[in-house]
Symmetry: D2
Subunit: 347 residues, 4 copies
């Protein structure tokens, strides 16, 4: 039996993680869920979809007692809070999978520049592994601290890695135009998530300033072996879930859509959750709704010698909680796809 605790468990990534874990074929037991705002409330009051399926109450976080009660901790609190908890949990010998951005960037200075706050546990950065199995599976296996990737970076990196690894594109001038569902903004109401402000409405936000930018750049730079800077523009779509990333590259030399798809298929041949679409098929967010799959498609524009690569993920699954569970599976030595191979719900 694997006992897991979820810290900061009242938000969307947590409810999604619980949904996945209670369907997991192995004996993974959620023994602790903490929430300061819902302490004492039954989980089904906050997550009515879980009614009858998990009999647990939110409790207040008590780090000291965690060691006795759990084997793994999913840390689902905001950045800054995460780095205030993580070291103390890790020091108890527990492994941590952190949903926040606090340990994703290798370079504390870059973190501090984008997040406008001091990094309070830089000593853990070298220990942390960026939890995208498609790039870092081997390091994840032995990681004590996994920095679970951001939703936008997951879509952008999986769309881009094969082109960059094969040096088929110019590294300057990459454009990532991402379209996200509203759940990415979290479970807390705001003007930006108010239904009448979002229905029938499409808009960009945080243009040239979104904090996922350095994360995408870091990982693609690693793939390239040389620093990459790119343009990343997130947009809000009138839908709850899903991210479609449209990524634009200038090709180094002419190559056909067919040939590129072949390269992608090989690159991801052993990846259980990346599905490369056939020529003429493009990813759609609904096809991965509620699932851990990332669909990737592409089209070469011969006239302009550019290639347009598209990826679709569910931001709450492959973009968050599915990836976290995938990481747990890897660390715990379970089958990597266990509890994660359900198809998307469509229509």
């Amino acid at each position: 039996m694997i006992r897991v605790g979820i810290v900061g468990a009242s938000g969307y990534t947590s409810s999604e993680l619980i949904r996945l874990i209670i369907q997991h074929p192995d004996d993974i037991r959620i023994t602790v869920i903490t929430s300061e705002s819902y302490t004492g409330e039954h989980v089904s009051r906050v997550m009515p979809n879980l009614r009858g399926l998990l009999d647990l109450e939110f409790e207040s976080l008590d780090i000291a007692s965690l060691k006795e009660r759990v084997d793994f901790v999913f840390l689902a609190v905001p950045h800054k809070v995460a780095m205030s908890f993580a070291p103390r949990i890790l020091e108890q010998g527990l492994r941590v999978i952190d949903f926040s951005a606090d340990y994703r960037l290798v370079d504390a200075e870059i973190y501090e520049a984008w997040y406008k706050t001091e990094h309070t546990s830089p000593e853990w950065l070298s220990e942390a592994v960026y939890g995208l199995p498609e790039l870092h599976r081997d390091e994840i296996r032995n990681a004590r601290l996994v920095a679970n990737p951001g939703c936008y970076p997951t879509g952008a990196i999986l769309a881009s890695a094969p082109l960059i690894a094969h040096r088929l594109v110019h590294l300057a001038g990459i454009v990532v135009d991402a379209k996200s569902g509203i759940s990415g903004a979290g479970s807390k109401p705001s003007l930006a998530t108010h239904f009448p402000n979002r229905e029938g409405n499409v808009t960009a936000y945080n243009v040239a300033q979104h904090r996922h930018t350095p994360e995408i750049e870091q990982e693609l730079s690693r793939v390239a072996g040389t620093p990459i800077q790119l343009n990343f523009t997130p947009h809000l779509m009138p839908m709850t879930r899903g991210i479609l990333s449209t990524v634009y590259f200038a090709l180094v030399e002419n190559i056909t859509t067919e040939a590129l798809l072949e390269i992608y298929s090989e690159y991801y041949a052993d990846e259980p959750f990346v599905r490369v679409l056939e020529q003429g098929q493009y990813p759609q967010t609904h096809a991965v709704y509620g699932s851990n799959y990332c669909d990737v498609g592409l089209e070469v524009d011969m006239r302009t010698r550019r290639v347009v690569v598209m990826s679709a993920i569910d931001n709450l699954v492959k973009g968050a909680s599915g990836a976290a569970l995938q990481n747990l599976n890897i660390i715990a030595g379970l089958q990597e796809t266990a509890g994660l191979d359900a198809p998307g719900i469509m229509p």
Copy 2:
């Protein structure tokens, strides 16, 4: 191993059934999927969410060969077509779970009056079992032909049965006001399902004429032991899935919301898929999205001595394919909840 065939397999109820079966923990194998319009196409071309998860092509229906290849047949063709296929499949000794309305109404004359067509195999009506386990579990167990319930009837009946069984309400004047997602209209495009005609739009349709009316009446009449006629008004909501049924009854005598909830809880105590909500909680379609649960809540209006009962289901799962799989589990002697106990996807 249980081998199943799905006839008329390109629509929404079939894609949903496939989605559920491929996650089923027992060894149920889909060996035949037929579609006249998509013959020769790979299933993932029509259902991109299933990409990589089921390697099968649609074929043309050949009833004669079914016996060798399947143990059960799910019949997912329109009414009239269903009754032209079902007898020939049944005569081969195969069991049939029929999604259409052709065998739901015990009385062929009522069928003919509402469906404006002759019933061509009335001899099978007495054999057919109305496939709502909550009312007919025992008969389903040995059924050769299961008439899988309509989506609206499922929601309306489950909301109403306890009140009627306990003779707490007047049987005249019942009003069923149902709000449905668009997927209930099927996978074939029409003016009524055209996105710009439905977004931001709510409307009633088939008022006083919807064919699910006699089905609701038949089953509630059985519960009552006396004939019931009621008002049923379906509405289209700007969403894909889900039915919320709001049912209005005049109480025979005063009773509190609390007492009624207690009665509901007892009535459904052994039902794995009916969840009775606490006082002050009302069902919401999103909490059962993609799941086989039916959430039921109610509120007494003391001023008018009426009770308002609400139920929420996913029309494609508990309202169609989940119920069909539940019926298969029952007939095949599997655990009734097998493959069906996943929580709804929320948000």
Copy 3:
């Protein structure tokens, strides 16, 4: 020139009122808009659709100075606040059109029972006119204080009045099942208006307890000449605007859909904003989107001798700001339809 002030001007009813007034063909000038939260902000910062169309800043309310600057005051503040402002504004000789519920109910005791608060200016209740022109046009003409109707009551009353006036239905057992867009909940974010909580989600709320119930009952009782109590159940739809009201009545005697439609057409023959649909046509919220029209349709259910009447309005226009402007037109002696005869925006 008519000078108007809008008090509490940052919400949806105000933005809608401004939208309508700036298109009004007569010389109506908005000279004051007040908002305590947005004092000093330009109107287009809060209402980006008005950019370039109204050059005005929100100011803090100063009742004493209103008299010099405006002829009419639209009071768009919450109930309780409204009755704290209205008397002081009225005492300056200004006419007031109040969007709140504070002066809608003739009987202060009923108000206090439903709103759980003392009525602080009951002396103005006899002066106030319920601002539904279809029922009270003559009194509105000379009103000093107009209580602008609630959105649900507008739809329910217009659907019901002809049947009740003609004594065609039983007055007991009326059921009003209303389906509303989210904008009815106002411009302030909450869990109930959070996009991920509403997309794909339909639910009832305030069952048997919604405060618009006594308002509907009051006005239909006036039409009937005898007290009516009814069931009113509001539901939230995944859309921004619009209310579809489905109202169920037991007919006193048999009558055809056709005959009833004829009666409705005559009843509303002189009403510019009520459109009675032909047989077989049902109202849809999108057909009145952004407009002041109320579409009404109906269908008799001969089997159960009941009639289902449906009405569609835009909750922010005919259900709020359009009605308010219609009232202003009446009081100011302008053409009643001036600035209000634009068709709905569809699709």
Copy 4:
């Protein structure tokens, strides 16, 4: 009085044009509406929002009789059909505003390459004026044949023109990523417009192949004075109306967001329908819903020396029928904004 006819009048651009014309302050009368599929039907049967507002029936097209009955013809038929009608209507001395693509491209060969069909009236191409007033107002004034711009080109061109006119950006490598509502696909149902296929779903289509590409290139090449080729990727959003265009440029040299906004404001200073937003504000489709405005905003990414320009339009108004009416106003010598200055409907 100006008499106008609308040929092919049953689609969305026509219903939108009718909606605008019946609110026009000048005496413009719609005297003929033709539709082969709805001949003999009253306009309100197809466009229920217009009920009571236009008493006209669709008739079959009779070109010979047009001259007696109309002064202007709006041609709202598909490409290919348009060029089969236009010459015959023009030869009668009537002016034509054509919604199709048939006369938008100056070069018949480019038309034939992208539309895969022979151009059957190339002799009219030199006469035709591309009907984007912001670029071609003077030629429109005397045009006999106006080629009304495509929806995507309108958004893309208005976002790009100032940068290109001022030679601030590199002309190679421009990326136009456009997000459109479903109404752009027209009023005819298809799999692509089927509600369950679009709700919660975002996808690209016609990547590197959309026919609006050469139209954008033609007009921006004219502005540049040198040929431009660019990448254009359209996406479908789960909403009915609106296009958000996100356009990416490499800056020739460093310049601030503030300075660029100043340049845009000057460039569009005399344009009544282009609204340049302040720094930090980004266009949103809902703010122009139902209106003829185009909102433009931008942000410089100093790190990558690129600028991201965004524009929002209503595809059916500024992207189609509003532009057409604007063109009529110009040709007819009316005030250019007449009937077009209504704000967007928001929320």
